[in-house]
């Protein structure tokens, strides 16, 4: 029993954080949102070079995975920097492509960042279908390479460009492991949401320390302190659920982590908006990039209600329990 990240995992998180800090993600996000993904594509390659996508790809296909704990570590950092793109979808694609032929053809390029994949179950929006080069449609019991996509619809998070995939296309596999892909996508989303929430808390704490009203920093007022304390509590209790779920990869554990982390991030976003005052309500202030993502991640890859239902139907892991 040692429920802590080891030195190597912590070093991985720090190196990703440093790389993403230097990458000036706000300007990358704004270009991506405007349909100009050149800098985003370049950042994608650097994330791949750091080994992030390889964590979801088996060694047989030039990956290093599957390593869900390390993947969760990486996605916390991706969320912390609000990195745009079909990151979670690429993880889901790596899981869905388990037929040897399709895997051999696509997984190495997916791990290396050469291709950007997106995925949509039938009838759902595929994230960033206009940028992705591999469009995977899970249609009934078939996994197909979609031939194209419909018009881009804007998300509340402008960095999320939603598209419906065209029907038909090449059949890649029958009976792809959709439940397993959902579990991986949910874990990645949970970790990403946690990172979004942690960044929102840090930014807001820094803001209330320097914003002066009535002659004192507003962070000295108890009404503000208690809202931030609640955000801290919510995030710190979501964190172990995310890593506990990564260890077990049990669908109910992952659903619990997903609903808890995304609700904690969203609650933190509401507090961040309130405590920043009017400036926080503007699109031009970078806080908006995180605020809007927190909203979108609440329902991405499983709404709160779906996740809670799964928790009750599946039952969570846990020490001395008998049920």
């Amino acid at each position: 029993m040692r429920f802590l990240l080891d030195d190597e995992q912590q070093a991985f998180a720090h190196s990703l954080d440093a790389m993403l800090t230097a990458a000036d993600t706000p300007s990358v996000i704004r270009s991506w949102s405007a349909g100009a993904p050149t800098t985003g594509r370049a950042l994608w390659r650097r994330i791949a070079d750091a080994g992030v996508f390889a964590l979801a790809v088996p060694e047989a296909y030039e990956g290093v995975g599957p390593l869900p704990v390390e993947l969760a570590v990486a996605f916390v950092e991706l969320g912390r920097h609000a990195v745009p793109g079909p990151l979670v979808e690429t993880v889901a694609a790596a899981v869905l492509l388990n037929e040897p032929e399709a895997a051999k053809r696509l997984l190495p390029a997916l791990a290396s960042g050469e291709v950007i994949a997106t995925v949509a179950p039938e009838g759902s929006y595929a994230l960033d279908g206009d940028v992705a080069t591999v469009l995977l449609a899970v249609d009934g019991e078939e996994l197909r390479l979609a031939p194209g996509h419909g018009p881009v619809r804007t998300s509340l998070d402008p960095a999320r460009r939603l598209t419906l995939l065209d029907r038909g296309g090449e059949l890649l596999a029958r009976n792809p492991p959709l439940p397993r892909a959902l579990t991986w996508a949910r874990l990645a989303t949970a970790a990403q949401a946690l990172g979004v929430g942690l960044a929102l808390l840090d930014t807001t704490v820094a803001y209330v320390k320097q914003r002066v009203q009535f002659g004192v920093p507003i962070g000295s007022f108890q009404a503000l302190k208690h809202q931030l304390a609640d955000a801290k509590i919510a995030l710190e209790f979501a964190r172990p659920l995310v890593f506990g779920a990564a260890l077990s990869m049990d669908p109910a554990d992952v659903a619990a982590a997903k609903v808890t982390a995304s609700e904690a991030a969203y609650a933190t976003a509401r507090t961040a908006l309130q405590l920043h005052g009017a400036i926080g309500y503007t699109a031009e202030y970078d806080l908006s990039l995180w605020l809007t993502k927190a909203r979108a991640l609440r329902t991405a890859w499983g709404s709160p209600g779906e996740c809670r239902a799964l928790v009750l139907s599946g039952g969570l892991s846990g020490g001395g329990r008998r049920s």
């Binding site: 029993m1 429920f3 802590l4 704490v205 302190k225 809670r308 049920s323």
Partner: protein, 381 residues
């Protein structure tokens, strides 16, 4: 990173589980906040102690098994999963004992801990006063030097368990004119039946005498019943205050077991169409797991040598609010039956309502989180 218990911990779990299966009373004991229930819970403490299960983390010489934090957590999981009674000795075990381990003398530990472990002496806390609640350091009860000891005078209140307990511990002002209020305090233990002590039980929300007011009129306390140096009481008391808020007051096992019982209740009484209630049941399950995992992470850091710091304030707010939400959900699930007072769920509900108030109010905890964990500037309370 792993969540695997060692074979030794699992063997310990099996041993605890077997003992509990053979000993836990088949029907719940009466409420420990009644005279009859207090006596029954005291007898249960003796039964636990007879086989050295009452204080597993203490050294063997005081009645424990000398097990570490992880085995203690395992024991607690098993204890509550088995439906074993609440611990009437909790105040002594989780508040006074850690202070004695850190600041007491050999003589004090040898004299005080074994009867605490066996339930022979049950301890009440005597922190608050009518004018000193969250601002505890403003307390006014006095300790005046006398031959061979001290004379305690003043008034304490909200003293949990004091209606039926044997002894109490608290802070007393031994130096009246110090520059700061937390200076000049002395940590003393006293007999609740000593001459000069008047105990006036106070009915909690449901009328049960869960706490009491204590009136002290020149109550003699010998020197050997002072912990640490006279005048250093604040430091002595605060060094273990984190225990009350965090790890050792509310183990995850308690909430895992309660969440399990809630799920059973949901399966039995829940309307599948009532997804609002279903979501609250799911939240109880998730919260128990979150608390367990948070605690394992906390314990892992402690075991690699990091101190238990202000993080314990995160625990305290979480479990106290979680406990209320869980019991509210159970009572709502029970529908019209939910208002009956004589059920375990109702007893647990009334008990849970005090959680955000005692052991440092949740407002104080949020101040600690904001100032010590987030680094926000101090301001007026």
């Amino acid at each position: 990173m792993d969540l695997d218990h060692s074979p030794a911990d699992e063997a310990f779990r099996a041993e605890a589980r077997a003992w509990l299966a053979a000993h836990v009373p088949p029907t719940p004991l009466p409420s420990l906040e009644t005279e009859e229930g207090f006596a029954a819970h005291r007898a249960w403490e003796a039964e636990l102690a007879a086989d050295r299960w009452s204080v597993v983390s203490w050294p063997a010489e005081y009645g424990g098994r000398g097990v570490g934090l992880l085995k203690w957590l395992v024991f607690e999981e098993e204890y509550y999963a088995a439906g074993a009674p609440g611990r009437v000795s909790q105040n002594g075990i989780s508040l006074l004992a850690p202070t004695l381990f850190d600041h007491g003398t050999e003589e004090q530990r040898a004299r005080i801990l074994p009867p605490m472990a066996s339930g022979e002496v049950i301890w009440a806390q005597a922190w608050s006063e009518p004018e000193a609640g969250s601002d505890l350091a403003s307390l006014r009860s006095r300790a005046v030097r006398t031959d061979g000891g001290w004379l305690l005078s003043g008034q304490k209140t909200w003293s949990s368990r004091a209606a039926f307990a044997d002894r109490a511990f608290g802070l007393f002002r031994s130096e009246p004119d110090t520059p700061k209020p937390h200076q000049g305090l002395t940590y003393a233990m006293f007999d609740l039946r000593a001459p000069g002590v008047t105990v006036r039980p106070i009915g909690r929300l449901d009328g049960k005498p869960a706490f009491a007011e204590l009136f002290l009129d020149e109550v003699f306390v010998p020197d050997e019943d002072v912990i640490g140096e006279p005048g250093q009481g604040w430091r002595v008391a605060m060094s273990t205050a984190g225990n009350e808020r965090g790890l050792t007051l509310r183990s995850p096992g308690r909430f895992l077991a309660a969440a399990d019982r809630l799920v059973d209740l949901w399966r039995e009484h829940g309307d599948p169409a009532d997804t609002a209630l279903r979501d609250r049941v799911a939240d109880a399950v998730i919260g128990a797991r979150a608390y367990q995992l948070f605690t394992y992470a906390h314990a892992s850091r402690f075991l690699q040598g990091e101190p238990l710091g202000p993080e314990s304030s995160l625990n305290k707010v979480f479990w106290s609010e979680y406990d209320i939400a869980l019991h509210e959900t159970a009572l709502d699930l029970l529908g019209a039956e939910g208002e009956l007072a004589d059920t375990d769920w109702s007893e647990g509900y009334v008990f849970s309502l005090a959680g955000p108030v005692y052991a440092g109010t949740n407002e104080i905890q949020r101040d600690i989180i904001a100032e010590r964990l987030l680094g926000l500037p101090k301001g007026r309370r």
